[in-house]
């Protein structure tokens, strides 16, 4: 990647219908989160909420933020950010597990 290869990459057009379908999907997942919050799931509460939130994030990143059409390096950066965040979370809370 340097001055010379800043060539414009192909524009990807996502159809409106697709956006609308994804948007309905996001709304449905939100409704699911709310519905599950009313059910007693014990220790699975946080896990289910995080799984649903992760799916929603992936949809937004890939479709609305066009990540799936971007260079591999951008996807790699996003993965690095998420993995770092995951490491921080795991290392913060593993201490509590050994109390």
């Amino acid at each position: 990647m340097s001055h010379t290869d800043q060539s414009a990459h192909a524009q990807h057009v996502v159809s409106y219908s697709r956006y609308v379908v994804i948007w309905f999907g996001l709304v449905a997942l939100t409704a699911l989160t709310v519905a599950l919050a009313g059910i007693e799931l014990g220790r699975w509460v946080i896990i289910t909420a995080l799984v649903i939130a992760s799916i929603k994030s992936l949809l937004v990143l890939n479709i609305f933020m066009h990540l799936r059409f971007e260079d591999r390096v951008f996807r790699l950066f996003t993965v690095v950010a998420f993995v770092t965040f995951l490491i921080f979370i795991v290392m913060t809370f593993f201490d509590y597990a050994f109390h």
């Binding site: 340097s2 001055h3 290392m91 913060t92 201490d95």
Partner: protein, 548 residues
């Protein structure tokens, strides 16, 4: 060379002659030129640095004798809080990247500017808004914050002083840092000149790259954490305060997840400066280029996983303490790789003891002392003994000031001719180096002794047996301050009266030395094509091999 010769004539002031759309002060504060933004940071940071330095000298004066010497206890509390906040958030964290990164990064990789020039200007504006808010909080009713720069809860939630403006200031400053990091990562990926592959990049650029990643990944965490403290203070929501059902240890985790990597935001560019300056004044190709480059990334990665070593006495599990202690020891490996490579670079070099190298030599010794005392603190048993004592304060000043601070002084003396087109006087610069090095060690080595004797940090008063060591440290602070004053005056005088600087006064091999001093508006008339690595001193090495 013809391009360089044309601009070294008296009167050729490069980018200073081209203010852009605006003139006067507006030509600076609305400029999107990376060089002007770098100098804006330099000016504003110098003011914050001198203010915080004055507070530090006053604190030392207070500690000259037990009991009250010059100020009341509450004033002393606000002094160390403001000293910490200003030195860390307004001086060392932006420090080298904001000034020298902005000014030099594009030139060093053969680009005309950073990738997002407007975002760059926004970073400076955010920096100023945050900085001025922190300063203004001193004068708001309620008095300056007295929590220390760490904002530990529950005290920061309960104290009646102006913690809120200080929190918001730190939050805003965080955004400035994130945007600078984002700009640098993008610039390094997208703007390198033809032929400038990853392993032809100057090592200062590598260190800025590693630093930028920490800025992007870790800063948002402290931002949101400080915001949560603000919410807790304003609305009484129980997040960290145990009285409200919160968890104060969680605050410490979240705070240090950023604030320990922040240590590497502060010191990594300093390490980069050493790698940049050493080969020039040793006239030798840097030893172990790839190891130094990768060790920056390794420090950035490992340094992000060690934060809980600040918390060994808060009641963590034994497993947690063991893991974080082990990880802390691991960080010393890439740090030691750098130090050994620097020493190997100096070995058999044709050493020119110019002021930048003198500061670098002080850096290496002081950084090593800082590193070793860091290992002592990483060892669980010793840590319990010296937790929250002057030993900790001595340790981090050895890393932050003895390392990064001296790195900044070295960078200032190395790139001054490039930035301002003038040479400075060598005599006063050497005197400044001698006094700052002497004063620094006289001030902070006694801290290590005091801490080992049991003197707690942040205490206003102390037992009489500590006084003799405190006196040595306080006298050291005067010597250090004198050295800093001479250093600054020498550079300020040279701005107007210094001899005209040639394009390459030190014989550097990186791209910034191929353009005139000071550089023209867009750095290069034509973007250069890079064909060799950044530290090619083979002709000197060959000559010294032929005539040993």
């Amino acid at each position: 060379m013809t391009q360089a010769a044309a601009h070294t004539l008296p009167g050729g002031r490069g980018f200073y002659d081209e203010p852009g759309r605006h003139t006067g002060i507006r030509g600076w504060i609305f400029s999107t030129d990376h060089k002007r933004i770098g100098l804006l940071y330099l000016g504003s940071m110098s003011v914050f640095f001198l203010t915080a330095l004055t507070l530090g000298v006053l604190m030392r004066l207070e500690m000259l004798s037990p009991g009250k010497t010059i100020v009341e206890p509450q004033t002393y509390n606000t002094f160390f809080t403001l000293h910490g906040i200003m030195m860390i958030f307004l001086f060392i964290i932006p420090g080298l990247p904001a000034v020298f990164g902005n000014f030099l990064l594009p030139i060093m990789i053969g680009a005309k500017d950073v990738f997002f020039p407007r975002l760059n200007l926004l970073s400076w504006w955010l920096f100023m808004i945050g900085g001025l808010l922190a300063l203004a909080s001193v004068f708001f009713p309620g008095g300056a914050a007295d929590t220390g720069w760490t904002f530990y809860v529950p005290y920061s939630v309960r104290t009646s002083t102006n913690v809120l403006p200080a929190l918001i200031a730190a939050f805003i400053l965080g955004f400035s840092s994130i945007l600078t990091g984002l700009n640098f990562v993008t610039t390094i990926h997208r703007m390198r000149a033809p032929g400038m592959d990853w392993f032809r990049m100057p090592l200062f650029v590598w260190s800025l790259y590693a630093t930028a990643w920490i800025q992007i990944l870790a800063t948002p965490i402290v931002g949101i954490t400080l915001l949560l403290v603000a919410v807790e203070r304003m609305f009484g929501v129980g997040i960290f305060d145990p009285a409200l059902g919160g968890d104060p240890v969680l605050f410490q985790h979240l705070f240090w997840i950023y604030s320990h990597p922040a240590v590497y935001i502060m010191v990594l560019p300093g390490l980069g400066v050493v790698s940049e300056i050493l080969p020039v004044f040793a006239r030798r190709t840097i030893f172990g280029y790839k190891f130094i480059a990768y060790s920056s990334l390794a420090i950035a990665f490992l340094g992000s996983l060690v934060w809980a070593h600040h918390m060994f006495t808060v009641g963590m599990s034994n497993t947690g303490m063991f893991v974080f202690s082990l990880l802390t020891f691991l960080v010393s490996i890439p740090s030691a790789i750098k130090v050994f490579n620097w020493i190997a670079t100096l070995y058999k070099g044709s050493i020119a003891l110019e002021p930048p190298l003198l500061f670098i030599l002080s850096f290496i010794i002081q950084f090593s002392i800082g590193g070793f005392t860091g290992l002592m603190l990483g060892a669980l048993a010793v840590n319990i003994h010296v937790q929250d004592t002057y030993f900790v304060v001595g340790h981090f000043h050895y890393v932050m000031f003895g390392g990064t601070g001296f790195g900044l002084f070295a960078a200032m003396h190395y790139w001054f001719p490039k930035m301002f087109g003038r040479m400075y006087k060598k005599g006063p610069a050497v005197v400044a180096w001698a006094l700052t090095t002497l004063g620094f060690n006289m001030l902070y080595f006694p801290f290590l002794i005091l801490g080992y004797m049991g003197m707690p940090r942040r205490y206003y008063d102390y037992l009489p047996e500590y006084q003799s060591v405190h006196v040595v440290a306080t006298v050291g602070s005067w010597v250090l301050a004198l050295g800093v004053i001479i250093l600054i005056v020498n550079l300020l005088v040279s701005l107007r009266r210094g001899a005209i600087a040639p394009a390459n006064p030190w014989g550097g091999k990186t791209l910034e030395w191929t353009v005139p001093s000071p550089p023209p508006m867009e750095n290069f008339d034509t973007i250069p094509t890079v064909t060799t690595g950044p530290y090619d001193y083979s002709e000197y090495e060959q000559r010294s091999a032929e005539h040993p």
